[in-house]
Amino acid sequence: MIRLFQNRRSWAAPYILFLVLLVVLPLVLIAYYAFTDAAGHFTIANFVQFFTKQEAVNTFIYSIAIAVITTLICLLLGYPAAYIMAMRSFSTPQVMAMLFILPMWINFLLRTIATVELFHMFGIPLGEGALLFGMVYDFLPFMIYPIYNTLQKMDVSLLEAAHDLGANRVQTFTKVVFPLSMPGIYSGIVMVFMPTVSTFAISELLTHNKITLFGSLIQRSFGEGGIAMWNYGAALSLIMLIIIGATSFFGQDDTEAEQKGGLL
């Protein structure tokens, strides 16, 4: 028994190695670079530089706003889609799910480039609208799928119980279905918000670099700024990490509160 246990533990070794080399180490490096200057001395100048530069802060706020709006649109479009998919007894629900997942079979860069071409074809100018469209288009499946999953797993007898106790369809939805799908909504929000707040490729392609997002700012610090900008870029990355970390914690806390009946 113990040997088996030890054996099992050893199976995790490759993953731990992977984790240390490709996740922990880079994170430590980012933190190191963020708090040092080019000469390797400790400093918080990188952060001061960011917070005093109006343009950078604006970009940061704008990026978050775009991410929030994208997430909201995804939620508004994704929830009904997931609901219809889960509730209607399609003879082949897998096919429906597949239709939503299918776009993800194509690399999102290719899809974005194709979107640009579409906009050109119909003569629609690129810009903020195109950016939002592209983001929603790319990340909608990430919203639909977790919501679909929670709805689909929901015990039908709960809905019947609500009906039985006098709830009509709307009341059943607001008092039972929606509160019980909150875990799915939270993971959907986190899964859409996280990539949208950090993306840069979509904004570059769909706005021809006219709109700069926070992700682009980081990318440029590393890509164009040369080694001198690495410390600043690392500081920006760290700020974004904190934002993303905060959203996922926010989601978790609320999921627990929700399960304890905090919503009604």
């Binding site: 019947e160 119980a161 609500a162 009906h163 039985d164 106790l165 006098g166 008092k175 909150m182």
Partner: protein, 505 residues
Amino acid sequence: MQKSQFIIEVNHVSKQFGDGKFALNDVSLQVTKGEFVTILGPSGCGKTTLLRCIAGFQVATSGDILLNGSDVTDMPPHQRPVNTVFQKYALFPHLNVFDNVAFGLKLRGVEREEMIRRVRKALKMVSMSDYEYRDVDSLSGGQQQRVAIARAIINEPEVLLLDEPLAALDRKMRADMQMELRDMHRKLGITFIYVTHDQEEALTLSDRIVVMREGKIQQIGTPTDIYNEPQNCFVANFIGESNILDAVMVRDRLVRFCGRDFECIDEGFGEDTEVDVVIRPEDVYIWKADKQGNADQTDFADQADYDPDDRIPKGHFTRFYGEVISSIFKGVHYEMTVKTEDGYEFEVQDYHEFKPGTKVGMLVKPEDIQVMRKERLCNTFAGIYMPQNRVGFLEAEWDVPERMSERFEAGEQVQVEVDFNRVNLQDDEEEGVLAGEVHFILYKGDHYHITIRTDDGDDIFVDTNDIWDVGDRVGIKIAPSYIRLKKKQVKEQQTEQNDDQTVSK
């Protein structure tokens, strides 16, 4: 609208699912206000479907359902004055105990103070007062069930529907809850409709029992009626232990089985009619017999309460004799199998043990012999006579003796009859003309009466001494000489009847 005397009327309700199978087949049922009615049957008999039709979760394909005299057949569940206790409780996991119970009141906008008062009262009723703010997931199965009951009764429904509410509880818990449900029914005074597959539960709880099988009601009656006077072999076999035997009604009040004539109290079956008799194991008087068949005085001296003379009821009752072949202690009584001189096996229950090998005498009082009309005397199928001495029935072709060609023409519709004991079952389904599955087994004392359901859904009834299990795949063969053919027009009516029976049985 005129108020009906029944709170629920189910009139000729059928429910057919997408695959064409009938979950309910022409079910009719009337329930009086305040009754405790149990719908009892094995899984897949349609009992839950019937309950769901009454609750409104399923809409009947045909027929109608009246609640308090008004038609609710198409009314959505939230408008019906009924509430349901679900098998797996279906408590809302995102609400605590209080909010679960208050759910229905909140929807109806009951004032807060009134609501709190009523929730407390309902929780008190199910002895869950201290659990108001507990998370439902932290409760045990029994506690969850109590909350589910409180949630349903707080709305003061006219009818409470309970769908196997105790199925998930352990035995001891179930017995306690049964008593509580009975008390609750008495206190609340509302009508309970209770679905279960547990015959003991049904006998304990109900005012009336509805026995169902394969979408059809088999019998409706009080627990004692159902137990003492089952209307067919299925009911007799499903409820309690029973000895079911082939018998012949010699004349009124006289029935012949085990090679002897027995007095009974049934009349109106006609003379020399084939019937089934049911004898409950506890109704058999048994004693250790000496060579003359009288009670043996020598043995059992050590058992103070065994008085050999008291074992035989006074009066002229037909006695029969046999040898105990097995004995099992069941706690209060012994369950013994006795093989009679004519080779019939009898289940007998008694407080005294008669060890295997003991020669015993037995008798059954006339009022303990329940006589039932036989559902059928032989297999009857509608068929078509075909060229080359073949006949088609049950979607297969069968050989018949050559001489038949003198009486029938090719293409002629015929009635096919086959005796139960002339159907030959094969282990290898490929060897039979037709393949099927053992669907139901009834032990008849000296043989098994087996229902084989063919792959096309038809039933063939077989008497055999071989032991089969339900679900066994078998091949079906019938020797040509045992297939009786009759002209169709002569017995047309009976053929139709048979078609009916193949659906029901």
